[in-house]
Symmetry: C2
């Protein structure tokens, strides 16, 4: 729960010592606080070729109320911004000592159709990266490669991933770098996602690739208030008594949702206490029990739900030669099969309403595999399959399904890992530190957002761009 | 080029010292040698539910001439093997001291349709893993998730990836673990791929997921001899003068191909010498020159080619703020755009014959990004896009296109990396060592094989299951 090294090297003496010894100095990440402005400062805009997203970006910049400057690669930005009534100027390459002026770098690469047209990306980041401040944001925007008209365009768009991931590794200082592919026709659906990646809410999300697709009924986004986006929504969270689950419940409630927390009967007291603080509802069920799906459905039937977060999960680590059949089975059942059974019950009865959101918690172990976790990794890889397979099925009902895959998150569980292994896990990412439960929770809140209707079938790591698993 | 730690800890004194200090002891990997049998020993077969691939596996076991034993999960194997005239028996769980009896573990998971049916995988690997000898092989076979009929089946098949990657990390001792998804109808196209993964040729390929699809003209595989599979074929290799390129040329030639090596004019002497040894043809061209595609096409026009290996590549590492425009452009152009131009020329003129093979060299940096390599990672991510986008276009002509993505390979280039960084790169994988150029070359030879007609659009890492990039 407590990264004492992070605290130490950010003290005056610790910082001096770390510098003189050449030790890594993780940045204290800026996280969302209700009493601080979510967006501020100066954003630099770049673009290649004939960009398709500048209009959408102008709407975004207007909406979040920041000031922008146009890099020379984005000559179209100045007149466009002026038409939108935005204050804007031209970016002047950094003089020495002018570091830290910019809070975000946005590059619209959607018009790039050939590998020979990638040069403006170099020009933009070459000129601007040193001017990006601590905990700054890099967002590259492109078109989904698999939807491109020609192999040449697909190739060039796919190349953006190598660039963005490299920028994340180079930038350091708490800076995140992410790639957002916007399907043609989905331009008006980007705001919730870009707000998330620009915000301190995405403090520990870097090196990710997210696709925004055209949703059915494209212009019928329900009305919502950006400050209370989940007002009037009902959200079920499994494993909500403590830890990451309690943090998810808390973040959803803070955005206005009524949270129904589920946890096992033995955690009833903690669950009750967590839900009381959030004015939520506590349901003590063992989700692995055969009767649980019907019980949960019955408890939710009358009012329905809008958001289901499958957070409950267990580990029973052992190398497979020493793993009992029971340890294998219970991990697969609770982490994977129970999710399938519960969703089937909620979907069949229409309890999860049209336009709903399902978010499942996977894991880096489910992506990369892990020693001693054949059961856990199998279950969490299955969660990825579940998200990918269900997304097209749920599309017609306007329901999205996505997963978050946490990396090293500081919890009571990771606090028990032996120090040297814990330190390795903590530092092996672009942030040189573990994440917090709230980082997972904020990512889930973005996926649960009414504005995220075009985001489905995605796996988003919350890992600080861990070395493990790309 | 030389991993002295590997040599030391495998000496009698070094092994004792490493053991007493708790140091990692990388296994000396068994690699293919023409004077040793490629397949031997005892293979254990497991299966779940109603397996679909046992017939194909029986054909494989017959063809490579090994002995099999059936795990209790694969009850159908014994009568089936008997029908094929195979010697077989039942697997008895290992007694202490009986380790090392098995050379491979094969599990047919193709019949698993639900997450509740995954248990036989645990039973099989629980019982057999300790009996698998050094440099043994684990292969899990399934159905491509995205082609499954139901979300439940897709989910269960996708879960196999978490298991296989975990097994690779647990097994150690030079053991590889890979997952092969066989499309329905592609059962008769698995032999070349399973031979590769069972063979010492795949010594440094672990944690990979490969799909075998139905090829057009499914039963019309050209005749070939498994020992000289490339006899009569003409193979172009770029960057063939030295290093990995020379190794590729050498392995292709050893399998009977006539190799046409291309390298820049300044490497002409080395290229001539390499090609002379292989009875190949040397072509000194700068592939980045505008006239190169036409020149290469003209030089190959008369006899045509069957195999094109895009190996030539350069690095010009610098953080992007310090990277010149020329360093960016030349890396993108040589590593990516030149491949596009050359393939276009060869394909338009029909010089690359129907049924041909294209193999491009990508990199782990193209998957995960890398500090100081924005240009290189962008180019190598683009190569992945090229493979994925071209595969469906080339399908009707029976041409496959795939990429290999090397991890840490011991070359003159890596020998120049500072010791501590080199050691970290070398050890951060399931083999605890770097790979050899021949490991990349053998992987390419498998993809270039006439029997690999169903393998296209795949990215295969040659990285010993590097921690980086999953």
């Amino acid at each position: 729960m407590n990264d004492s090294y992070l605290n130490f090297v950010n003290s005056p003496f610790g910082a001096r010592l770390a510098r003189s010894l050449g030790l890594p100095k993780p940045e204290v990440l800026r996280r969302y606080r209700a009493d601080q402005p979510e967006f501020d400062g100066l954003i630099a805009i770049g673009a290649g070729r004939e960009p398709h997203l500048l209009d959408a970006l102008a709407n975004l910049v207007t909406s979040i109320g920041v000031t922008s400057v146009a890099h020379e690669s984005a000559g179209l930005w100045v007149p466009l911004a002026n038409r939108h009534g935005l204050m804007t100027g031209r970016f002047e390459p950094a003089e020495s000592g002018s570091h830290g002026k910019l809070t975000a770098l946005l590059f619209d690469a959607s018009g790039i159709e050939d590998s020979s047209q990638l040069e403006p990306l170099h020009g933009f980041f070459h000129d601007t990266l040193r001017s990006l401040g601590k905990c700054g944001r890099i967002i590259v925007l492109g078109r989904p490669p698999e939807a491109c008209a020609t192999p040449r365009q697909w190739t060039a768009q796919r190349a953006l991933e190598g660039l963005t991931r490299s920028l994340g590794k180079e930038a350091r200082r708490g800076i995140t770098a992410n790639l957002v592919y916007v399907e043609q026709g989905a331009e008006n659906g980007i705001e919730a996602t870009l707000r998330f990646f620009l915000s301190p809410r995405s403090a520990y999300v870097s090196g990710q690739v997210v696709r925004i697709g055209v949703r059915d009924g494209a212009d019928a986004l329900p009305a919502f208030d950006w400050n209370q986006a989940l007002a009037g929504r009902r959200a079920v969270v499994t494993g909500a008594a403590r830890g990451i689950g309690a943090s998810i419940a808390s973040v959803l409630a803070a955005q206005g949702a009524h949270v129904i927390g589920i946890d096992i009967p033995s955690a009833r007291d903690a669950l009750d206490s967590t839900m009381r603080q959030l004015n939520g509802t506590a349901l003590a069920f063992d989700i692995a029990a055969p009767e649980a799906p019907a019980q949960i459905a019955a408890a939710l039937d009358e009012q329905g739900v809008d958001i289901v977060v499958h957070n409950a999960g267990i580990t029973k680590d052992k190398t497979i030669a020493k793993m009992t059949d029971a340890a294998w089975q219970s991990v697969i059942d609770i982490n994977l099969s129970a999710q399938e059974r519960i969703d089937d019950a909620l979907l069949a009865a229409g309890i999860l309403r049209d336009g709903g959101r399902i978010v499942a918690v996977s894991s880096i172990s489910g992506i990369a595999g892990n020693l001693g976790q054949t059961n856990y990794a199998t279950s969490k890889a299955g969660v990825i399959g579940r998200v990918q397979s269900m997304a097209p099925h749920l599309r017609a009902r306007g329901i999205t399904i996505n997963a978050v895959a946490p990396g090293f998150i500081e919890t009571q569980m990771t606090a028990k890992i032996p120090l040297t292994i814990r330190e390795a896990g903590r530092r092996m990412n672009s942030m040189s530190q573990g994440g917090q439960p709230v980082d997972v929770a904020q990512t889930i809140a973005w996926l649960a957002h009414p504005g995220s209707a075009g985001v489905s079938g995605q796996i988003v790591r919350v890992c600080g761009q861990s070395l493990i698993g790309a």
